[in-house]
């Protein structure tokens, strides 16, 4: 098994489409998925680097596993459903604390999925039929107010405060908040590839700082022997 250079973790409430996003990106198609059990993991070759992407389970039952999955993560993708405000609220309430174990310079991306189901979900020229389908599929989505991108931007700024990060030293909110559709594929590659490009310099930095693989024998300090004499 190839050893991953970095870890990226997808977090978010159940049914926001984490698995579908990852599936769309990795397999290039949309597939109705079942609720993820525990977590799954993909290895993506990006240029010469191996990036592991963890898909976590959104269900409350597996919430406790989140911290472990996030441990040492280089980037975290917080995912919500643009048709479901509560899923954005949950990110702050439930999921943000899981990221405590992530590495200190961890990148955050906020992704609003299911843009194809919104009334104005014609970012990619959504056809009437698509909307109809959306209505049929998700009655819940119809009733809810669509989450604005500004809300995600606001959350991003809160995260920076929570992580005590300086806004000037991290990518701007506008760069890190996305709206996607795993179903149509809209913006999906952009999310992952933007992040991959951002983690590459981190990999290089880690390699530079990382523990040296060689043993420095010049550092060896001989243990001082107490002088012992045979006969005084």
């Amino acid at each position: 098994m190839k050893k991953p250079d970095v870890k990226i973790v997808l977090l978010g409430d159940m049914n926001v489409g984490k698995t579908s996003l990852l599936h769309r990106y990795m397999e290039r198609r949309f597939q109705e998925t079942v609720s993820t059990v525990g977590g799954a993991f993909y290895l993506k070759q990006w240029r010469s680097y191996n990036i592991s992407i963890w898909d976590t389970a959104g269900r409350e039952q597996f919430h406790g596993l989140g911290s472990m999955y996030c441990r040492g993560a280089t980037a975290i993708i917080l995912t919500y459903d643009v048709n479901h405000l509560q899923s954005l609220v949950e990110l702050e309430d439930r999921f943000l604390s899981l990221t405590d174990t992530a590495s200190t310079d961890c990148l955050f991306a906020i992704v609003g999925n299911k843009i194809d189901l919104t009334d104005e979900g014609d970012a990619e020229g959504g056809a009437e039929g698509l909307k109809e389908q959306g209505k049929a599929l998700s009655g819940r989505a119809r009733a809810s107010r669509r989450v604005r991108l500004d809300d995600a931007v606001a959350l991003y700024k809160k995260i920076l405060k929570y992580r005590m990060l300086d806004e000037k030293e991290v990518p701007a909110a506008e760069e890190m908040c996305f709206e996607t559709s795993a179903k149509t594929g809209y913006n999906v590659d952009h999310v992952f590839e933007t992040l991959f490009d951002m983690v590459v310099p981190i990999i290089l930095r880690q390699r530079a700082e990382g523990p040296s693989q060689t043993v420095d024998i010049t550092n060896y300090k001989p243990v001082k022997r107490t002088q012992s004499r045979c006969c005084d």
């Binding site: 525990g38 977590g39 269900r59 597996f62 472990m68």
Partner: protein, 860 residues
């Protein structure tokens, strides 16, 4: 969920052997170390069996256990746990919260009575920190609340090394190096007992569900997680593998690479660590122990012990392939890499890739198939042999055994579906085309190229010709038969040619052109043949088809002689006389050929030049009467004739003059007279017969080309005198004379002209001539003056040199010796070189060159 058969459940110890008919006896724990199998019971007995593995005649593994002895521990408590420390020959027995040491062989307690008291459960460190091979590291969960203790256990003593307290009560422990993986009341943690640092893993309620903590390898543990997950965690607190999904009530877990095996009250489930999928489910009721011992997985109910025998990986992979589960098979094979010696693995893996390739191929998944064939380094002939008749009849190839696939041939594979068949053929074409130039083709180039030729011919593919005109290894007999069958005669010709049988090739093509056989590959086949013969080195072949080619087209056909490659011409393989002889019947051809000799190759041979001139002349004369019809061509030939007559000096002029006499070819006869230096005659013809004054002027120019100025002047004067001769058309001629003078003033001697011109001409009429003549004369005068000046100054320079040389006297005495012969001077005459050297006159004469000066000066 698709299953594979990864394990077989085999009974190890029959119930009778253990407890006979005593129903109250239950198995509490087991330990297996090499062939030694230990069983601890609820009535405080330890049983020792020797386990023998046997191969049944059907190739299945079976076990037989022979009871060695048993031992009653006299606590009246169940034996909770057994662990063998084979290096110490000790068995660690946990019973009644005490870990006792007994002899592994005879089960007697050790004489020293060393023991660890107050243990709830314990674990051995399989990655010990200590370097002493004769001690084992034991971690116990103490009966004291929230306490863990580390012990070193020697042959006959125990030693506590560390005690750590935990934040909550621990329930289960596993050890790796300094790291403890602990199941606490509400969560799992990693604890470094050396530094005390701890790392939370994830929450788990140990009181609700029995936790599982199992070390599965270096620094990695398997834990029972929420929702029946089997979670992987490393000592760093991270997960490197995705979890496996067990049932909620799992009781035990074991590892047998690449599988995770779990036990619940009804089933044994097998998951792959490679793709996290469940691979096998074995019904197993009332199981309560599942453990792996050095790779051997043992499962037990309270009454009987069973062994899960893994099926050989290769067998499992073959099963997967048989059910077309290519991806899983490949994952399993790749995962097995580290468990199989490298050489063996590579052979096995390659074969699996090839098999997988054929599975994909049969499903027409050509891209995937190609990649698998490539990475599996498939012998291409395996693939070719699927297609009927493609392998050469001479091929010694036999398919590998056991077969890589189940198909006899493509017909069976496609079940006669023509569309599929075509797709398969198209794939093979592209595949063979890709590999034929790679190392994959080494050794089978004949097979590949012949197969490719057959495919191309059958599919009427344009690449057939490319294949045949570039380097190829098509086998002749096979290919000939196939190309004939598919009526690819042109291609067949190419094949013959590639195999050095040019005669056969040309004959075939000629037959196509003659319509004897049909192949419309090339509409310009005749030109192709001409081209082919042009570059053909076989003279005999060229001669054989020369007549045929010329009969088809004189102009094109003659190219076989005129366009031959330069290097061949230089060797002069073809005798021009033979060719001319052959071309006699073909007037157009012979002209072209002579033109080629005279104009292109510039052969300087009188007969060719004369012959060509005569042919031109004949043609011109022949066409003259019907001049109206083919005007352009007449002038073209005539132009060629004139150009030849003008430029060549080799033809026999008299012969041509004889032929031209009495014809109206005045220009030509003027040229011929010019060649004989009969300029007067020539100019007369031009001026009087043709009345073409510009032609007359041009005549003067080209006739004097390469001659000196007086010669040219003579011609111009001659022309002028002709113009000025009295005659009937004197007026026209006078005008011509004026034009000539004015346009070519420089060609005349002005003084003589002025004598010649009639007195009646005005100065104005000849103004341009006079101006230029005057100008010329002035120019000449000035040039001469300049030259004179330069010459006299040069003369001065020489005089200066002379005076300088004369400046110093040369003394000649008895003592002075000649520099050359080194003898004294006997007479006053001597030679002095400009560098001062003095020699005898005869010495200077005998030696013309002096090393230091080339211009000897002499003085007497």
């Amino acid at each position: 969920m698709m299953n594979i058969k990864a394990f077989r459940l085999v009974s190890a110890i029959e119930r009778e052997l253990l407890m006979g008919d005593k129903d109250h006896i239950n198995i509490e724990c087991i330990e297996c170390c090499g062939k030694n199998l230990y069983v601890g019971t609820n009535d405080c007995f330890i049983y020792h069996f020797l386990l023998e593995e046997k191969m049944s005649p059907t190739g299945k593994v079976a076990f037989s256990a022979t009871k060695q002895r048993h031992k009653y521990l006299a606590f009246k408590k169940p034996v909770n746990e057994l662990k063998a420390a084979s290096a110490l020959n000790r068995l660690l027995v946990l019973c009644d919260n005490t870990i006792a040491l007994v002899n592994m062989m005879n089960l007697e307690p050790i004489p020293s009575g060393a023991r660890i008291k107050g243990a709830v459960t314990f674990a051995l460190n399989e990655n010990p920190v200590s370097v002493d091979p004769f001690c084992v590291e034991v971690c116990i969960i103490s009966v004291k609340r929230r306490t863990i203790q580390m012990y070193l256990v020697y042959e006959d003593r125990v030693q506590i090394v560390k005690e750590v307290s935990t934040s909550e009560q621990p329930f289960a422990v596993a050890v790796d190096g300094h790291f403890l993986c602990l199941a606490l009341t509400t969560q799992y943690i990693i604890l470094n007992y050396n530094t005390g640092a701890s790392q939370d893993l994830f929450p788990y309620c140990s009181e609700e569900r029995q936790p599982i903590v199992k070390r599965i390898g270096r620094k990695e543990f398997l834990l029972a997680g929420p929702g029946g997950l089997g979670m992987f965690a490393t000592v760093d607190g991270i997960s490197q593998r995705a979890p496996v999904h067990w049932s909620e009530n799992v009781i035990g877990a074991a590892i047998c690479f690449p599988y995770v095996i779990a036990l619940d009250d009804e089933f044994i489930t097998v998951h792959s660590m490679l793709d996290q999928q469940r691979k096998q489910t074995l019904p197993f009721k009332e199981g309560h122990i599942l453990q792996d011992f050095e790779g051997r997985v043992i499962v037990a109910t309270s009454k009987g012990v069973y062994i899960l025998v893994p099926l050989p990986l290769e067998r499992q992979i073959q099963d997967l392939l048989a059910s077309q589960r290519v991806e899983e098979a490949l994952v399993l094979a790749k995962g097995a890499r580290r468990n199989i010696p490298k050489e063996k693995f590579q052979v096995m893996y390659r074969r699996i890739l090839q098999q997988a390739g054929f599975i994909q191929f049969a499903q027409l998944q050509f891209l995937e198939a190609k990649e698998l064939f490539r990475s599996g380094q498939l012998d291409v002939r395996e693939l070719i042999s699927l297609y009927p008749f493609l392998l050469p009849t001479t091929s010694s190839f036999t398919r590998s055994h056991p077969p890589l696939h189940e198909y006899a041939d493509l017909n069976q594979l496609t079940q006669g579906d023509q569309e599929k068949m075509t797709k398969c053929k198209r794939f093979l074409m592209s595949y063979l085309n890709e590999v034929r130039s790679t190392e994959v083709a080494n050794g089978y180039k004949e097979d590949i190229d012949t197969a490719l030729l057959k495919l191309y011919a059958e599919a009427d593919h344009e690449s057939l010709l490319d294949l045949l005109v570039t380097e190829n290894f098509c086998l002749l007999t096979d290919s000939v038969a196939w190309l004939e069958k598919h009526k690819k005669y042109f291609a067949l010709g190419l094949l013959y040619h590639y195999n050095g049988q040019d005669a056969a090739a040309v004959q075939l093509w000629v037959n196509i052109v003659n319509g004897e056989i049909h192949d419309s590959t090339r509409s310009d086949l005749y030109e192709y043949i001409v081209d082919f013969l042009t570059y053909c080195l076989d003279q005999e072949l060229v001669w054989k088809y020369a007549e045929w080619v010329l009969q088809k087209s004189e102009e094109v056909g003659v190219q076989i002689f005129t366009k031959r490659p330069l290097e061949e011409q230089q060797k002069n393989n073809f005798n021009p006389d033979d060719i001319i002889n052959c071309l006699k019947k073909y007037p157009k051809s012979i002209i072209k050929y002579l033109e080629h000799l005279v104009v292109d190759r510039k052969v300087q041979k009188e007969e060719y030049h004369t012959h060509l001139a005569i042919l031109y002349l004949e043609k011109v004369l022949q066409q003259k009467p019907s001049a109206n019809g083919n005007c352009a061509e007449v002038t073209e030939t005539q132009a060629k004739l004139r150009s030849l007559l003008q430029k060549s000096d080799l033809y026999r002029v008299h012969c041509l003059i004889d032929k031209i006499q009495g014809t109206s070819l005045h220009m030509e006869s003027a040229i011929l007279h010019g060649k004989l230096e009969e300029h007067d005659k020539a100019l007369h013809i031009l001026v009087h017969e043709l009345k073409d004054f510009s032609a007359a002027r041009d005549y003067c120019l080209w006739s004097s080309q390469g001659r000196d100025a007086p010669y040219r002047r003579r011609l111009f004067h001659m022309l002028l005198s002709i113009y000025l001769e009295p005659g009937p058309s004197a007026c026209d001629l006078a005008l011509a004379a004026v034009d000539l003078l004015n346009l070519h003033a420089a060609e005349f001697d002005a003084a003589r002209v002025l004598e010649l011109v009639p007195d009646g001409w005005s100065v104005q009429l000849l103004a341009p001539f006079l101006t230029r003549a005057l100008r010329e004369s002035l120019h000449t005068r000035r040039m001469t003056q300049a030259a004179l000046g330069l010459a006299s100054s040069e003369n001065l320079l020489y005089k200066h040199d002379k005076i300088k040389l004369k400046g110093s006297p040369v003394r000649l005495s008895d003592k002075k010796l000649c520099q050359m012969c080194e003898s004294p001077f006997c007479e006053p005459a001597f030679v002095r070189y400009p560098n001062g050297g003095v020699v005898h006159t005869h010495c200077a004469a005998s030696r013309h060159t002096n090393p230091s000066s080339s211009s000897p000066g002499s003085r007497t």
